[in-house]
C-alpha cells in the first residue's frame, strides 16, 4: 500500500503543518548524518545492497519504506516538540506517528512495543548472520544470492531488521512517558524531557549501539554462527546508514513515489547468469567478430535469461554455431515466434541446452516491408511449424524453409492478422 492511499485524519491534518516545518529540519540533519555515514560504513552499504531492489520481496520493500517513514516522523516530531513544548500537542503527534507507521506494516507483523527489544536482538543477529553468510559467499565466485534463493528465515530477518530499527527510533522519540511500558533498551536510553530536540539524533545512535551490543549477546547465546563482532557492528551501522539514505530519499521525493525512491538508489548486482552471457558473447565474437551481436543483456523480466540480438544477415551461421559448438550446444528449440513492433519485426527464439542446463533467448530483427529471417528448420526440425505459424500470422518469410505456407489460416486468407496495422479483408467493402 502506498502512502497516498491513507485517509487523512484530523490529527494528521493538524500535524501536517508541523511536519512540513520539521521536514526541512530533518533534511538538514539527515545531510549531516549522511556526511558522517559516508565516511565510515561506505563499503558496507554497497555490500549490503548487493540485492537489486527489483528482486526485493514486497515485505522487504514495505519494511524499508516503513523504516524510512518512521524515521522521518520521529524526526519531525522531535523538531516540532523542540519548537513548541506544549504538552497537549504530544499525544496528537504520537497518534500521527502511529497512524503513519501502521499502514505500511502488514497486520501479521504488528508487534507490541514491549516486544521491540527482543525483536531488535533478533534483527541484529539476522543482520550479522546475513553478513556472515554473504562474506562466505563472496569468497567463492557465484555472485549475490537472489531473494528467490533466500531462506524464509533470512527474508524474515531482513524484514525484521528494518522494522525493529524503525520501531526503536519512533520509540526513542516518544520520550519518557512511554518508557515504563517499553523494554530494556529504552530504559537505559530514556531521554530527558528537556532533550526532546536531540532525541531523534541520539536515539539513532543509541539504537545502533544497542543493536550491535545485542547482536554480540545474541551470537554468544546462539553459539554456532560464524563471523566476528566487528562484522555485526558494521552490519548494524550499515543498516542504519541504509535506512538514513532511504529516509533522505523519501523526504526528497513526493509521497506518491515513496515506493520507487529506494529502488533507484540500490546498485544492481550482476545476475547469476551474467557469466553465461559473457561466455556466449565471447564465443560468438571469437568466431564471427563483435559486430554480429547487436545487443546482449540479461532479461530481468524473464527469469534472468541471457538474451542476444543477432545480426540478421549472419543469423543462420550463428544458429549453426549455437547448436554445434561444444560449449554452447543448444540442441533444443523451446519456442519461436514473431513480434510486430511497428517499426520493425522481430523473431524471438528460446533455446535450451540439456547438456549445460542453460537457457538462451535470441532475437533477430527484420524490416516490415521486406521481412526475411533465415530458416533454422534444417538445424532444429521443431522450427518447422513455428516458422509456418509466424509466416501465417505475421508475414515473416523464412528463406530456407522447405514448406513455407499457411498453417492455421486458410490458404486464401488475405493479410497477416498479428501485424498491428492489419485490417480484415472483406470482399464487400
Amino acid at each position: 500500500m502506498s502512502d497516498e492511499k491513507r485517509k487523512p485524519t484530523p490529527e494528521e491534518k493538524a500535524a501536517a503543518a508541523a511536519e512540513a516545518r520539521a521536514k526541512a529540519e530533518s533534511l538538514r540533519k539527515l545531510r549531516e548524518q549522511e556526511a558522517q555515514a559516508s565516511q565510515e560504513p561506505q563499503e558496507e552499504v554497497s555490500a549490503l545492497e548487493v540485492k537489486p531492489v527489483s528482486e526485493m520481496t514486497p515485505e522487504e520493500k514495505a519494511a524499508a519504506k516503513k523504516a524510512a517513514a518512521a524515521e522521518a516522523i520521529a524526526k519531525a516530531k522531535a523538531a516540532k516538540e523542540a519548537k513548541e513544548a506544549a504538552e497537549v500537542e504530544t499525544p496528537v503527534a504520537e497518534q500521527q506517528s502511529e497512524a503513519v507507521a501502521l499502514p505500511a506494516k502488514p497486520v501479521s507483523e504488528m508487534t507490541p512495543e514491549e516486544k521491540a527489544a527482543a525483536k531488535k536482538a533478533a534483527a541484529a543477529e539476522a543482520i550479522a548472520k546475513a553478513k556472515a553468510a554473504k562474506e562466505q559467499a563472496e569468497a567463492s565466485p557465484p555472485p549475490a544470492k537472489p531473494v528467490s534463493e533466500m531462506t524464509p528465515e533470512e527474508k524474515a530477518a531482513a524484514k525484521k531488521a528494518a522494522a525493529a530499527e524503525a520501531l526503536a527510533k519512533a520509540k526513542a522519540a516518544k520520550e519518557v512517558k512511554e518508557a515504563a511500558e517499553n523494554g530494556a533498551d529504552t530504559a537505559d536510553s530514556a531521554p530527558d524531557a528537556d532533550a526532546k530536540a536531540k532525541a531523534a539524533a541520539a536515539a539513532k545512535a543509541k539504537a545502533a549501539a544497542a543493536a550491535a551490543a545485542k547482536a554480540k549477546a545474541a551470537r554468544e547465546a546462539g553459539g554456532d554462527e560464524s563471523g566476528d563482532d566487528d562484522a555485526k557492528a558494521k552490519a548494524a551501522a550499515a543498516a542504519k546508514a541504509k535506512a538514513a539514505a532511504a529516509a533522505a530519499a523519501k523526504a526528497k521525493a513526493s509521497q506518491a513515489t515513496g515506493d520507487e525512491a529506494p529502488a533507484e538508489e540500490a546498485p544492481k548486482a550482476p545476475s547469476k547468469n551474467q557469466p553465461y552471457l559473457d561466455k556466449y558473447v565471447s564465443r560468438i565474437s571469437e568466431a564471427f567478430g563483435q559486430e554480429v551481436i547487436e545487443a546482449s543483456y540479461i532479461n530481468e523480466l524473464a527469469k534472468e535469461v541471457p538474451t542476444l540480438t543477432i545480426q540478421n544477415e549472419r543469423w543462420h551461421q550463428i544458429a549453426q554455431f549455437l547448436k554445434d559448438d561444444e560449449q554452447l550446444s543448444f540442441e533444443y528449440l523451446s519456442d519461436l515466434h514473431g513480434v510486430d513492433y511497428e517499426d520493425r519485426l522481430e523473431v524471438y527464439y528460446h533455446f535450451y541446452s540439456y547438456k549445460n542446463r542453460q537457457s538462451l533467448a535470441v532475437k533477430v530483427k527484420t524490416s516490415r516491408e521486406d521481412s526475411k529471417v533465415a530458416s533454422v528448420m534444417d538445424l532444429w526440425h521443431g522450427a518447422n511449424w513455428n516458422e509456418r505459424e509466424t509466416f501465417d500470422l505475421l508475414g515473416i518469410h523464412f528463406p530456407g524453409h522447405k514448406d513455407l505456407r499457411r498453417i492455421l489460416l486458410p490458404d486464401d486468407w488475405v493479410g497477416y492478422p498479428l501485424r498491428k496495422d492489419y485490417v480484415q479483408y472483406d470482399e464487400e467493402v
Partner: protein, 382 residues
Amino acid sequence: MNHNILTTHVDTSSETGLRTEEMLLNVGPQHPSTHGVFRLVVKIDGETIKEAIPVMGYLHRGTEKLAENLTYTQIIPYTDRMDYVSAMTNNYVLCHAVETMMGLEIPERAQFLRLIAMELNRVASHLVWWGTFLLDIGAMGPFLYAFRDRETILDLFNELCGARMTFNYMRVGGVKWDAPPGWIDKAKEFVQYMKKELNNYHQLVTGNEIFISRLNGIGKFDTKTALDYSLSGVMLRSTGVKWDLRKDEPYCIYDRFEFDVPTATEGDCMARYHLRMAEIEQSLRILEQALEQFPSEGEVMGKVPRVIRPPAGETYVRIESPRGEIGCYIASQGKDKPWRLKFRRPSFTNLQILPKLLQGENLSNMVAILGSIDIVLGEVDC
C-alpha cells in the same frame, strides 16, 4: 491445397504381379480418433502409409490476436479454451508470466490451491487420455471407468470455482476463490480412492495381450529425434531424458514436495502409456503431501495493483502441462494490455513429429500413434 500429394503413382510392375495403386485417404476433420477437428491426408499404398500430411486450423480462434485487446485478467478465460482438458495449467502459465514480470509475491494458501488444482487437473487430463486412447485402439470399457473417475475431479473443481471445464480460476496474484469448507477432505478422499482405482486400471488393461501387441515398438523414436523436433513432456521422457520442469525449473511450490520423474528408454507407444500411468501415481503423491500440508488459513490473493501493468519488456516462462512444456511469452509496453502474447503449446509442437512417425507404418497403427502423442486440438489451433 496445392500440394504434390494430389498426384498418385500407379505401379503395375510389382514383384507379385498384382496391380497396386496408391490412394489418398482423408481422415477428419470430423473423425473421433482425432480428438477434435484435426485432418490428416494420408497417401497409402495398400495398408502402408507413404506420406501423411496434417491439416489444421479448424479450431483457430485467434486467441493471441484477441489478447492484444484484452486486459490480463480478461485473457485468463481464453486460456481455458486452449487446452480445455487441462485448463488449470493454462491459467497458471499466463498468471505466472505476468507475476514474473511484476515480481509479485503469491500468498502461501493460494500457492497450495494452485498446485492442488494443477495436479488434480493433470490426473483428470491423463484419465481423459487413458480412456480415449484405449477407445481408439478398440477397448470400450476403460473409457467409462476413466470418465467416471474424472467426473469426481470435475465435481471438485465445480465446487472450487463453479465450473467443470472452463475454470477461470487463477488470477494474477493468487486465485479467485478459496476452497469451500470440507473441500480439502473431499480431495483427500479422492486421492485415496484413485490410488486404489489405479490398480484396477492396470489389471483391466496393462497386461492385455492384444493391447501389448498393438503398442510395443510402435511409433518409435530416439532422444536425438525428440530434441530435434522440440518434443516435450512424456514424448521426451519416453526416450530417456529425465526432464520435468516441475523438478528442473521449479515453479509454484513444487520444490517442496517429493516426487519422481518417471522415464523410459523405448520411445514407443507402450513407453508413453506406462509413463502417463506412472505420472498419475506421482501426481497423487504430490497431492497427498500438498493436501496434508495445506495451510489452515491465509489469504488467497496477494497484494496486486488494481490495474495490472507489467513493466515494459518481454518475458518467457514455461511450465509442465500434462502434455509437455507450455510456455507463455508476453511483450509488454507498460500498458494494461499485452503488446504481444504468445503461447508455446505442447500439443502443437509435439504433433510435428506425426508425419515422420506415420511414414511406412501400417494404417491401423495410425490412431495408436496419434493417440499416444496426446493432443488437444484447442491447443494445437489456439
